[in-house]
């Protein structure tokens, strides 16, 4: 599968601190290369939220005030990684989809169909001519 057609999947859920929900966090963000690395997440988080993340590990970052900020973060990340788009799935939906899936292909398809999709308008423009002239 070419990178331009691949989807970045983001699973998000409540961010808890001392037993209280204080916003949202990204539990898993991955594409066909697996979980997105800490360095990339850290850099992107700093650009969007303007301070260091409280949660940072491979494939996970946060907190975010609300879903809108997660959407902005996801869009930026998608562009940076060159994915075709981003599919945002809540934790509850992810768990429901996993429970209802039998094979990996089922789960992958459901995550892409049921998630809230953000298209990357830059996808497909990073061909060889674009690289030569930019």
């Amino acid at each position: 599968m070419s990178l331009e057609k691949s989807i970045l999947t983001i699973i998000y859920g409540p961010y808890q601190k001392a037993g209280r929900i204080e916003g949202q966090e990204i539990m898993s963000v991955f594409n066909e290369n697996g979980l997105v690395d800490e360095t990339t997440l850290d850099e992107e988080y700093l650009e969007v939220v303007n301070h260091a993340p409280g949660v940072l590990e491979e494939g996970a970052v946060g907190p975010f005030n609300d879903l809108e900020v997660i959407q902005k973060f996801s869009f930026n990340l998608c562009q940076k990684l060159g994915n075709h788009g981003a599919s945002l799935v809540s934790l509850d939906d992810y768990n429901e989809l996993l429970a209802a899936s039998y094979k990996v292909e089922d789960l992958k398809q459901k995550l892409e169909e049921k998630g809230s999709f953000i298209k990357n308008p830059e996808a497909g423009k990073s061909g060889i001519f674009n690289k030569i002239f930019n």
């Binding site: 898993s28 594409n31 697996g34 992810y94 768990n95 899936s101 039998y102 094979k103 992958k108």
Partner: protein, 588 residues
């Protein structure tokens, strides 16, 4: 000048993997008709040992009544054992003590698969099987599960006893290999875990109050929560282990960790996109061995195991680690041809009752150093309690943190030192009580303690072959990576490890194995095998010198390599997925 060298292929040709033999001589008896067991087992080549996991759900749907040949012929384990005996094969049974990644519902009977297992991030837990099936895990913290488990192990034990089955039984702690080491599948954060943990905390509060300790009033600090959570996990783990041990006492050998390669979270999300990363799997295989967890490829499709990954599993696991782990023969047996992993170091790390942000060996740069210069020749014991044994290998170097010191550990460390062992102690966090005890020990035994400044102050005492080195770990925290490597290099090169240090090109993995000498090799102390693997998709070149006390004996298992050998130099060109092994006679 190029020398002629014996180029022998010693590895048996790998058998085609299928659902019944999913890897490393594991046998899934429930995946085929009992009438085909004989022909399947007959077709097995290479090893005479079959690893047979007991599929709990296959013998019971409810956890209440059991089928051992009463209904399905495939549940007739006595028949399986008899067939294996007739064909000259040994069976080792593996009883799961945690959810099994390779079975639907983690192996639980369907009526007991009630509460989905949840990871630390709130996600339902599942593993991708070798054919892309999602095996969903269910919590082992459900009281109905561990009560039924007790019945399962009793019924199994009684069946073995009545049928005269004397095969060894091991308890299997299944897990994945991650950045944090071996992560058992038992670990859970589901609602049943939370309920059980709540009851455990209430009991703890009563216990501590009864002991007159009123600091804990049921409201936990994060450190306390971490400590109690680990304690609760260990309590439940011991419930399963004790069920196995008492139910199967006639056959019980102990428990072992099993590392499922391809089962990490990163692998899960990559495999969701039907991608596999061979370099990641080969690394995890080696990491699993260093963690003393039996690596297995059961989750990986057969097509991935036709190349270098399959060779590594065959050479390092089936022929070496497994044989050593399950073999009845001692290493000192003169006729023994099996290599076992070479270990220079045994590293004992922080225990789970210590606060998670405490400085461990990773923070002190030890793993980076050992990985770079000693290529997997170490054993990460994690929080396994250190037990001194008379037959322990005193040539190894043992690492301990002072913050984990207790009476038993202190006693065992001193015994090791006095028996000629080498000990390195990080004194950061060592209590005043044990500092005084150490000082008293050195004084009473009239030992000279040298004091040397190498970045930090190092205290060194010798007693015959034994050596005790103490340093302050906290002093290393401000050093950059280069300075930390220099520190460890200065310290560890003062120990006579007799190691051939090579720095392979990036992506190439080197590992060492060792065996005793046969009657034709008595000029050497031991024979070491250097296994070199290039799992990458690139050509690689490697060149190194042979020290005077190493003698190249033979080159074996060449695949996609070109080997050149001078008097004192070796040069190897690797194609992608190339590998070979070099046998050296080693003398002082």
């Amino acid at each position: 000048m190029l020398n002629e060298v014996d180029l022998s292929l010693t590895t048996p040709v790998i058998r085609d993997e299928d659902a019944v033999f999913p890897g490393e001589n594991w046998f899934f008896y429930w995946k085929t008709s009992a009438s085909l067991w004989r022909s399947k087992i007959e077709s097995m080549t290479g090893s005479n040992t079959l690893l047979v996991p007991i599929n709990w759900s296959f013998h019971s749907e409810t956890g209440d009544s059991y089928d051992f040949a009463q209904e399905k012929p495939e549940t007739d384990l006595k028949r399986l054992v008899s067939i294996a005996d007739e064909l000259g094969k040994d069976i080792i049974f593996l009883v799961p003590m945690s959810p099994c990644p390779f079975l639907p519902n983690g192996g639980l009977p369907s009526l007991l698969a009630r509460t989905p297992m949840v990871d630390g991030r709130g996600r339902y837990k599942a593993f991708v099987d070798q054919d892309g099936t999602l095996n969903k895990m269910f919590s082992f913290f459900d009281p109905r599960v561990y009560k039924s488990y007790g019945k399962f192990t009793r019924e199994l034990g009684q069946y073995f006893s009545q049928m005269g089955i004397s095969s060894d039984v091991w308890g299997m702690d299944c897990g994945q290999i991650s950045l944090d080491g071996f992560q058992s599948t038992l670990r859970d954060f589901s609602p049943v875990f939370q309920q059980g943990f709540g009851r455990f905390i209430a009991t703890k509060k009563d216990e501590l109050s009864a002991q007159g300790e009123n600091d804990f009033d049921g409201v936990m600090t994060p450190d306390q929560e971490h400590r109690f959570s680990q304690e609760f996990l260990n309590v439940i783990r011991s419930v399963y282990a004790e069920s196995c041990e008492s139910g199967l006492s006639g056959n019980w050998e102990g428990s072992l960790k099993v590392g499922f390669i391809g089962g990490s979270d990163d692998d899960f999300f990559r495999r969701l996109n039907q991608k596999d990363r061979i370099t990641s799997y080969t690394f995890d295989l080696l990491e699993s061995l260093s963690l003393n967890a039996l690596p297995t490829s059961l989750l990986l499709p057969g097509r991935l195991k036709k190349g270098i990954l399959g060779r590594m599993f065959n050479q390092l696991v089936s022929q070496s680690f497994s044989e050593h782990l399950f073999s009845e023969h001692s290493f000192e047996d003169e006729g023994l041809a099996h290599f076992k992993p070479k270990r220079f170091f045994e590293v004992f790390d922080l225990t789970s009752d210590i606060a998670p942000d405490t400085v461990g060996w990773a923070d002190l740069g030890l793993w980076d150093y050992l990985q770079k210069y000693y290529s997997w020749c170490y054993s990460d014991q994690g929080e396994t309690p250190f037990v001194w044994r008379e037959d322990s290998d005193m040539d190894k170097i043992f690492f301990f943190h002072g913050i984990t010191m207790n009476q038993k550990l202190f006693h065992n460390i001193l015994k090791t030192f006095m028996s000629g062992g080498k000990v390195i102690l990080n004194r950061s966090g060592l209590s005043r009580e044990y500092q005084k005890k150490l000082e008293a020990f050195f004084l009473e035994n009239d030992l000279d303690v040298e004091k040397v400044k190498v970045t930090t102050t190092i205290y060194n005492a010798n007693l015959g072959e034994g050596r005790f080195l103490i340093f302050q770990g906290d002093d290393l925290l401000d050093l950059d990576d280069k300075k930390i490597l220099e520190f460890w290099h200065k310290v560890l090169t003062t120990f006579k490890t007799n190691h051939l240090m090579v720095l392979p090109p990036e992506g190439v993995q080197v590992t060492w194995r060792v065996r005793g000498c046969n009657t034709n090799e008595l000029t050497y102390e031991e024979v070491r095998r250097m296994d070199i693997y290039n799992p990458s998709s690139y050509k690689k070149k490697m060149k190194f010198s042979i020290p005077d006390n190493f003698r190249l004996l033979k080159v074996v298992d060449e695949e996609k390599v070109t080997f050149h050998h001078g008097q004192k130099e070796i040069e190897i060109d690797f194609l992608p997925e190339g590998s070979l092994s070099l046998d050296f006679g080693v003398f002082s």
